[in-house]
C-alpha cells in the first residue's frame, strides 16, 4: 500500500468504528455486539504485537485476558465499587503475572514457546475454577456491575446506557491502539521486526534478544489485560471461560484470519470472528464444528488473512 492509501485506510477504520453502534443495527447487529468486537479486536491486536510483529507464537494469552477480567470483577465486587480502580487492579495483576511467567519462558523458541505458553495458560483457569470462596468457581463472579464514572460534576453513565459504554470502550481502545502504533514505530518496535525477520543476525548486531522478547511479551499481555477488563465490564460478569485455552486459540485465529502482518489485520479478523460466532451460536447448537471448520479452512486456504491477501493484490 502506498502511504496515502494507508492513511486513507486508517481514516476509514476510525470512521467505521466511530459510527459502529449506528450502522450495526442496520445490518442486523446490536450495540453490545459492536462493543464486543472492539474488545476482542483490542485483545487480538495486543496478541499480534507478539505474534505478528515479534514472530513469537503465544498460545496462552487468555490467561492475562482473564486475569484482567477477574481483577476488575473482584475489585468492584469486594473492594471498591469503582470501574477505573477495578481496571487498574486487573491490569497490574495481569502484567505482573506476565512479567514473572515471561521471564521463565523467554529462552524458548518456535513451537516450544507455544507449548510452554499453552501449559502456563491453564494455571489461572484451574485456580479460578477451584478457588470457590473467592472466584465463585465455575459459576464465576456474579452480583456486581460496572459503575458509572464520575468526572468532577459530570457523570459518565456507562452502566445505564449501552452507547455511552461503547464510546467509553472505544476511547480506551483508541488510547491503547495509539500507544501500540507508537511503540511499533519506535526503535524498539523496529528491533522487534528485526528479531522476527532474522533472530541470529539481530543477535550478532548486539541486540539483547531475550530482553526484547520478554518486554514484547509483557507489553502484549498488558494490553490484552485491558481488553479482559473491558470484557468483564461489558458482561457485568466473568467466569473461568475468560481464562481458558479456547479463548487463546480464538485470539490467534482472529489475528491470522485478518492478517497478522498488518497492524489492522486482527481488528478485521476479530470483527469477522465475533460476528460469525454470534450468528452461528444463535442458529445452531453445533457452533463448535463451524468454528473448528473456520480454523481448518483459514489454515488451508487463507493463511495470510484478509489484509495479507489484499496487500499482495494491490502490490502485484
Amino acid at each position: 500500500m502506498t502511504p496515502i492509501a494507508r492513511r486513507g485506510f486508517d481514516i476509514a477504520v476510525w470512521v467505521a468504528l466511530l459510527f459502529m453502534p449506528y450502522w450495526m443495527g442496520a445490518i442486523g447487529g446490536y450495540t453490545e455486539l459492536a462493543t464486543r468486537i472492539v474488545v476482542m479486536a483490542l485483545a487480538a491486536m495486543s496478541l499480534n504485537i507478539l505474534l505478528g510483529f515479534t514472530g513469537v507464537l503465544s498460545f496462552g494469552h487468555a490467561a492475562y485476558f482473564g486475569l484482567g477480567a477477574y481483577g476488575t470483577a473482584l475489585t468492584i465486587k469486594y473492594l471498591v465499587p469503582s470501574t477505573l480502580l477495578g481496571m487498574a487492579v486487573g491490569i497490574v495483576t495481569a502484567t505482573a503475572a506476565a512479567a514473572v511467567i515471561g521471564a521463565l519462558i523467554v529462552k524458548r523458541r518456535g513451537v516450544y514457546f507455544a507449548m510452554v505458553t499453552i501449559a502456563f495458560g491453564q494455571v489461572f483457569y484451574f485456580i479460578a475454577f477451584r478457588w470457590n470462596a473467592v472466584t465463585g468457581g465455575d459459576d464465576g463472579v456474579t452480583d456486581w456491575h460496572r459503575m458509572p464514572i464520575g468526572l468532577g460534576p459530570a457523570r459518565l453513565d456507562i452502566f445505564g446506557n449501552d452507547k455511552i459504554f461503547y464510546y467509553f470502550v472505544l476511547a480506551i481502545f483508541a488510547i491503547c491502539v495509539g500507544l501500540m502504533a507508537g511503540l511499533l514505530n519506535s526503535p524498539f518496535g523496529r528491533t522487534l521486526l528485526a528479531i522476527r525477520e532474522n533472530e541470529r543476525r539481530a543477535r550478532f548486531l548486539g541486540i539483547p534478544i531475550e530482553r526484547h522478547i520478554w518486554l514484547s511479551f509483557v507489553v502484549s499481555c498488558l494490553f490484552v489485560s485491558v481488553a479482559g477488563c473491558l470484557y468483564a465490564l461489558l458482561n457485568n460478569f466473568t467466569d473461568p471461560r475468560a481464562l481458558r485455552f479456547d479463548l487463546s486459540g480464538n485470539l490467534v485465529i482472529m489475528a491470522v484470519l485478518g492478517g497478522m502482518r498488518s497492524f489492522w489485520g486482527p481488528l478485521i479478523g476479530a470483527a469477522i470472528f465475533v460476528a460469525l460466532q454470534d450468528y452461528v451460536s444463535s442458529h445452531t447448537a453445533n457452533w463448535m464444528s463451524v468454528i473448528g471448520l473456520v480454523f481448518v479452512l483459514v489454515v488451508r486456504f487463507f493463511p495470510r488473512g484478509v489484509l495479507g491477501v489484499l496487500r499482495s493484490r494491490s502490490s502485484a
Binding site: R108, V111, A114, M115, I127, M288, V296, V299
Partner: protein
C-alpha cells in the same frame, strides 16, 4: 492416614500413566514433525467412543484391540489430508489446524453420542476390589497399569530395536540427512503419527473404563500432558514418561493435603523445573529451544 495417602498416590499413579501415554504420543509427533497436536485429546475420546460402540458387538477385549487401531486409521487419514501439507511451515498453522480439529471432534462426539457421559462396561470380574483393606486396588486398575506398562515397553522396544523406530529417532535428530539416505520421510512421518494416535486411542479405551466417558474426556487430559512433556524435558521420550508419572503422583499427593490445588500443583512444578532446570528433567543439553 497411611491408607488415605496410599489411595491417593495410587490414584495419582494411574492418572499419571494416562498423562504419560498421552504425552508420549504428543512428543513423538512434536519431535519428528514439529506439530503440536492439539487434537490429541479428540483422538483419545474417539478411541474411547469407538470402543463404547464396539463393546456390544465384539466385547470388551475385542474393542480393546480394535478401537485403537481404528483410531490410528482415522489419524492416518487426517495426517495425510490435513496435516501433511503443513510440514515445514510456521508451527503456528499446525497448531491452529489441530486446534480447530479438536473443536470439531468434541462437537461431533456430542452429536453422535450425546453430551451426557455414557456408561462404559468393563468385565465385571475386573471391577471388584482385590483386598478389603485396600479397597482401591481393583482388578481393572491393576490390569490398566499392566497394559500401560506393556504399551510403553512396546513403544520403547520399537524405537530402540526396529528399523522403523531407529529411523524415527534418527529423523528426530536430523530429518534431512535421513531423507538423503533414502528413507521416505513422508511415510516415516505418517507412521510416526499413526503410532502416536494409536497410543492415544488405547489410552482412551482404558481411561473410559475408569473415569467414565463424556465428550470432554480428551480435553481434560491434554493440558497436563503438555506439562508432562515440559517437566520431563523436550525431546526426551523417557523424560516425558517420567514427567507424566511424576505430575500424576504429585497431584495425587496434593489431593490428600490440599484438595483444591490438585491441578495447580503441576503448574507450580513446571514453573520450578523451568526455573531450576530449563531443559527439563531428562532433556538433552543444548536443546533448550
Amino acid at each position: 492416614m497411611t491408607q488415605l495417602i496410599l489411595f491417593n498416590l495410587f490414584n495419582g499413579l494411574i492418572v499419571g500413566a494416562f498423562y504419560a501415554l498421552m504425552a508420549l504420543g504428543l512428543s513423538l509427533i512434536l519431535n519428528l514433525s514439529g506439530v503440536i497436536n492439539f487434537a490429541h485429546g479428540g483422538f483419545l475420546a474417539l478411541g474411547a467412543y469407538l470402543a463404547y460402540a464396539l463393546i456390544p458387538v465384539i466385547g470388551f477385549w475385542g474393542a480393546l484391540v480394535v478401537a485403537p487401531v481404528l483410531t490410528a486409521v482415522v489419524g492416518l487419514a487426517v495426517e495425510r489430508v490435513l496435516i501433511r501439507p503443513l510440514y515445514g511451515r510456521d508451527p503456528l498453522y499446525g497448531l491452529l489446524l489441530t486446534f480447530g480439529l479438536a473443536y470439531i471432534f468434541e462437537d461431533a462426539m456430542r452429536l453422535i453420542w450425546g453430551a451426557q457421559s455414557v456408561p462404559f462396561q468393563v468385565p465385571g470380574w475386573l471391577t471388584s476390589p482385590l483386598s478389603r483393606q485396600y479397597f482401591f486396588l481393583t482388578g481393572y486398575r491393576l490390569f490398566m497399569i499392566l497394559v500401560v506398562a506393556l504399551a510403553v515397553a512396546g513403544l520403547f522396544y520399537v524405537l530402540t530395536y526396529t528399523r522403523l523406530g531407529i529411523r524415527i529417532r534418527a529423523g528426530t535428530q536430523d530429518l534431512e540427512t535421513v531423507s538423503t539416505l533414502g528413507v521416505n520421510t513422508r511415510i516415516l512421518r505418517s507412521l510416526n503419527f499413526g503410532i502416536g494416535i494409536y497410543i492415544a486411542g488405547l489410552a482412551g479405551v482404558l481411561a473410559a473404563g475408569l473415569l467414565g466417558l463424556s465428550p470432554t474426556i480428551g480435553s481434560a487430559l491434554i493440558m497436563p500432558s503438555f506439562v508432562a512433556i515440559i517437566v520431563g524435558g523436550l525431546g526426551s521420550l523417557l523424560g516425558t514418561l517420567f514427567g507424566g508419572l511424576l505430575i500424576g503422583l504429585a497431584s495425587g499427593l496434593t489431593a490428600v493435603f490440599f484438595p483444591s490445588a490438585t491441578e495447580a500443583v503441576i503448574y507450580v512444578m513446571m514453573g520450578l523445573v523451568l526455573l531450576v532446570r530449563p531443559r527439563g528433567l531428562l532433556g538433552e543439553e543444548g536443546r533448550v529451544h
